[in-house]
Amino acid sequence: MTEFLQQILNGLALGAIYALIALGYTMVYGVLRFINFAHSDIFMLGAFSGFYLEKLFARYFASAFPPQSITAAIIIMLLSMAICAALGVAIEYLAYRPLRKRPRLTVLITAIGVSLFIEYTCQHPAVFGPSPQAFPKLLPEQTLNLGGVVMSSNQVVIFVVTGILLVLLTFIVQRTKVGMAMRAVSFNERAAALMGVNVDRIVSFTFALGSALAAAGGILFAIKYQKIEPLMGVQMGLKAFVAAVLGGIGNLPGACLGGLVLGLVESAVGGVARLSTYRDGVAFAFLIAVLLFRPDGLLGKATKEKV
């Protein structure tokens, strides 16, 4: 029983990170209807921003923000999120915006090109280099024992940060004017534009929001696994996208649900000794099984095609 609870806990922690990345995929899909392959690299850049900011802080601001203090960790996370938000907006402005009126396939391939560009540039020795680097501890680590179930302080951090960000996101999307505009553009871009919504600005905002969440996910991932490398986003990004599709793409609660379900499924499979090496394939098998019975995802609405 404790082992079962332990797996659930681990699965939820992994799922929370999937959810943060999946939200970015699903939001961009909602407004622009294409898969932003470069999103997985924003996730990676978020982790690397955290890595270099920590070095910077430890060197120049060690007296004001002592290493492993909560303030330093929060500031590092917020700055990384800001950096990635700016990068996300820049990518959209330079690569995707000129293609807005073109077929979606063109944009999709451009996104793949952007993704490859970021990955190979970051692997260049003059940038980050191809080999993995150890991520510093942003916070002191402890383990809590809850009646046999071991919970690390890192998992607490993951749950707390994800929870706060999800509440914030829900507030922005549901209660603010810009959130309403986002929903309007996602529902019908033309009609929204006719109602006076500045579509370009909303698209930029969507990219900023999604990229900031991915950056947070990147830092949480780095805290959990303590190792970062330029290709760390590839598998995570694919699985987070699977999570977004699982929940019904374009649907924000669906992305969270998909992320958590995927985390739980992977963790459950990882716990079974004979199946653990198939872990990477299980996410996709599960996705295919779900799509065959509910082609619009768990929470997606069935869309009827009009002829």
């Binding site: 073109r102 063109t106 391939i109 590839v234 694919l238 198939y278 990477d280 996709f284 996705l287």
Partner: protein
């Protein structure tokens, strides 16, 4: 194509491949290796073009089928290579390629029947998923070396085999698409609903395209295995599928000549950029972005750009 019967072009291509292969000793081994890479890329790109270009079903799992064919053919020749004589070797190799293609086609059928109920992005992501599942399965199969890869594959792929397969693939796909039956693929691409209303069994056409595409991908996998003499599951990941998709798109989706040219250019390009090795993939990715911004209709299309909206 109208003036010459295409059969003659095929025969001519096979003869030329045979002649070049017979005198291949005089060529630089490196150039020969690259030319075999090019031929394999043509098989892959043209077969994916049948699915993505002509039939309009966006598949992102082509590398998975390549892996199925490659591993099957390699397992066959490794098991038999001790008992082969110079006479039986080409026959067994050809058989291994075909068996690899057939097993791959079977995989295509298994994957295609359920996933082709989905459309567009969902289809893309499901085929991507199947490709990854195939890779993970090979990564766990101890009998083919699991994660450390399959070693000791005999080096049977030469200039003739690779270019003969490329010629046959191009011939088969071009004839299929230009046949009466093949109009169905294009109808499904242009408007699935209208095609269905005209009495075309769209699902059947989609699955057929998928199975045929998978068959040739399997052949390409067999050629690849016996060219590189080593197979690793990581070589067949998502990036490999993307590489083939990029060839099809830069070639202009559904234009066989364009796709062949794109396969040639995109295979030679990284080799040309080898002197500046640390920058070559950066340049490659920038080229993809630049071409999509400037020439989205494909690299080699001039007059037909308005043919298909």
């Amino acid at each position: 194509m109208k003036r010459f019967p295409p059969q003659w072009l095929l025969v001519a291509a096979l003869v030329i491949a045979g002649i070049i292969s017979a005198i291949s000793g005089v060529f630089n081994r490196y150039y020969l290796g690259v030319s075999i890479d090019v031929a394999i890329a043509i098989v892959l790109a043209v077969s994916l073009n049948l699915i993505n270009g002509h039939t309009g079903q966006f598949s992102l799992g082509h590398a998975g089928f390549m892996a199925v064919g490659g591993y099957t053919a390699a397992a066959m020749t490794i098991a038999l290579q001790k008992s082969l004589t110079p006479v039986t070797q080409p026959i067994v190799f050809l058989l291994a390629l075909i068996v690899g293609g057939l097993v791959s086609a079977l995989a295509g059928l298994v994957v295609g029947v359920p996933s082709l109920r989905l459309k567009g992005d969902y289809l893309a992501i499901v085929t991507l998923g199947f490709g990854e599942i195939i890779r993970v399965v090979f990564q766990n199969m101890e009998s083919v070396g699991a994660a450390s890869g399959l070693k000791g594959i005999p080096n049977y792929t030469n200039f003739f085999w690779s270019w003969a397969c490329a010629a046959v693939t191009v011939y088969a796909v071009a004839c299929l698409v230009n046949s009466t039956y093949g109009r169905g693929f294009i109808a499904v691409h242009d408007d699935e609903v209208a095609a269905g209303a005209m009495g075309i069994n769209t699902t059947r056409y989609k699955v057929t395209a998928f199975v045929i595409g998978a068959f040739f991908a399997g052949i390409a996998g067999g050629l690849f295995a016996h060219h590189k003499v080593f197979l690793s599951p990581t070589g067949f990941d998502f990036t490999k599928s993307i590489e083939i998709v990029v060839m099809v798109i830069l070639g202009g989706m559904g234009r066989t000549m364009g796709v062949i040219l794109a396969a040639i250019v995109l295979t030679i390009l990284p080799e040309v950029l080898r002197p500046i090795a640390s920058y070559r993939m950066i340049i490659y990715s920038l080229l993809i972005i630049g071409l999509m911004l400037l020439r989205p209709q494909g690299l080699f299309t001039w007059n037909k750009s308005s043919k298909r909206a």
